[in-house]
């Protein structure tokens, strides 16, 4: 496929990019707040601690409230030994059924056999090593609420130095509500795949969400395709041959 993609599919990819960017721009507020809290302590010549980070809780609560069902959880995850009083630490809150929220507790004791080493997770590694945001998933998150999730994270830096990530867990079921209308509008049979070739959404039952569609990864696959131009994702919108027509 060598022709320039048609306007329709480009517009569709743009609306998906906007959906991605809206999550990251919602996180910008939390990022700014966390940076301010941590650097304010630094200005006083003190090493920040867990209690300094706890000051971002009202911002987290607001974010969960504002975003409604779009966010299942959000917060800050710290790089090792950045805080004076905890080697590993996170300030992450999840929605509860009654419009409230609760802190996510993970086993962060490295001596324990069930230690949750988040420094190995792609949502932590990519922002740390590559300096940009990322979206991981869709995947079944066993450690949190047993939810089918997309995890959005971006680096948190203080004076240019990586100190952790800010992020949000977005249920696939709520994210697809933003994506499906534009896929439907595109018409025909169309699929959104992630960088690893996994189906994120489709306007047809031919492609099951979560299945690997590696055949669609090649630049020649599909009738028409457009990349989702957000730096955090390697997603593509692909129009496929309708089986009824073929």
């Amino acid at each position: 496929m060598t022709s320039t993609p048609a306007t329709g599919i480009v517009r569709c990819s743009e609306s998906i990019r906007d959906a991605v960017e809206s999550v990251f721009s919602a996180l910008a507020v939390l990022e700014a707040e966390a940076r301010e809290r941590l650097s304010a302590v630094g200005r006083k010549g003190r090493h920040p601690g867990t209690s300094d980070l706890a000051a971002v809780r009202p911002t987290i609560r607001n974010l969960l409230h504002e975003q409604g069902d779009r966010f299942n959880g959000t917060g800050v995850v710290m790089a090792p030994d950045v805080l004076a009083d905890a080697a590993f630490h996170l300030e992450w809150w999840q929605r509860t059924g009654d419009r409230g929220s609760r802190p996510l507790r993970l086993n962060l004791d490295p001596r324990s056999e069930s230690f949750y080493d988040y420094t190995l997770k792609p949502w932590f590694v990519i922002p740390r090593d590559e300096g940009h945001g990322t979206v991981m998933g869709p995947y079944v998150d066993l450690h949190c609420a047993g939810l089918y999730t997309l995890t959005f994270t971006r680096p948190l830096t203080v004076h240019g130095e990586f100190v952790g990530v800010v992020g949000a867990d977005v249920p696939v079921a709520s994210f697809e509500q933003i994506v499906i209308p534009s896929l439907k509008h595109l018409g025909g049979e169309a699929v959104v795949i992630t960088g690893e070739g996994r189906v994120l959404a489709a306007n047809t039952p031919t492609w099951a969400v979560g299945e690997m569609a590696r055949d669609l990864l090649g630049p020649e696959a599909g009738v028409e395709r457009a990349a989702v131009r957000a730096p955090e994702v390697g997603w593509s919108v692909i129009r496929v041959e309708s089986p009824a027509a073929g």
Partner: protein, 249 residues
């Protein structure tokens, strides 16, 4: 078809008693599951009474009741004072007796039924995993197979076995299948991996896991399902054999 009290069997199944009648028992079960499959380790502190109540969506009194049962079963120890709280205790010894008794008491027909459920869940999980697994799944499954081979206690074998099947279920991208597999592993695992020569041959199980892994990574859905189904039959047969031996004694 015989109808009971004018209701069809299907109807009775639909109106089976709701499980939240024993909320404290459910909390006990959740904690026991987390320990059984290795999500919580010995010495680990449980969340506070009110946090636990909030997380599970039950009343504080229910959690208090559940903690009392867990203490009685020897699964949890509560310490007072500044560094106090409820902690996971090494439950293996106490639990072995409970699980041996359970395997003795369960009927062969009930064991077959449990095996049937495992057959459905693990077979389907392997099939979908073959279609949906990420390419780095082989690495984590391989590690769990090695752990199963090298494990020195039945508890370690049980956890490595459970984690293998749960990782496969996670790879299906299905939250429901994953939940079913977690429940099944928590229920079946301790009956299967009994100590004292009552457990299955760990290296044969590791070989079967390896075959399943190869089929999944090759994307061969039908073969992955067949191998996973055969594997559950081996497990179910082992349970029946052990049950027969235990009831002999």
């Amino acid at each position: 078809m015989a109808a009971v009290d004018g209701r069809s069997p299907v109807m009775s199944a639909a109106f089976a008693p709701l499980s939240d009648s024993g909320r404290a028992d459910m909390v006990v079960r959740r904690v026991a599951e987390a320990v059984t499959i290795g999500l919580m380790a010995e010495g680990e502190q449980l969340p506070s009474e009110s946090d636990l109540a909030c997380q599970l969506g039950v009343a504080n009194g229910t959690v208090r009741e559940a903690l009392a049962i867990l203490r009685e079963q020897g699964l949890v120890e509560t310490r007072r004072g500044r560094n106090g709280g409820s902690f996971i205790r090494n439950p293996e010894e106490g639990l072995t007796r409970i699980h041996q008794a359970r395997l003795r008491e369960l009927g062969i027909s009930e064991l077959r039924d449990l095996g049937d459920e495992q057959f459905a869940v693990s077979g389907t999980a392997a099939r979908f995993a073959a279609e949906r697994a990420p390419s780095d799944l082989a690495k984590s499954l391989d590690r769990l197979i090695t752990v199963l081979r090298k494990a020195e206690s039945p508890a370690e074998r049980r956890k490595a076995d459970a984690r293998f099947h749960i990782e496969v279920a996670v790879a299906t991208q299905s939250v429901r299948l994953t939940r079913l597999e977690v429940r099944l592993q928590a229920e079946l695992g301790p009956l299967l991996w009994l100590p004292g020569g009552d457990g299955p041959d760990a290296s044969a199980f590791a070989d079967q896991h390896h075959e399943i892994l190869v089929a999944i990574m090759a994307g061969d859905a039908a073969e992955a399902r067949r191998l996973a189904e055969e594997h559950t039959i081996a497990g179910a047969r082992h349970l029946v054999r052990t049950h027969l031996r235990l009831t002999d004694a």
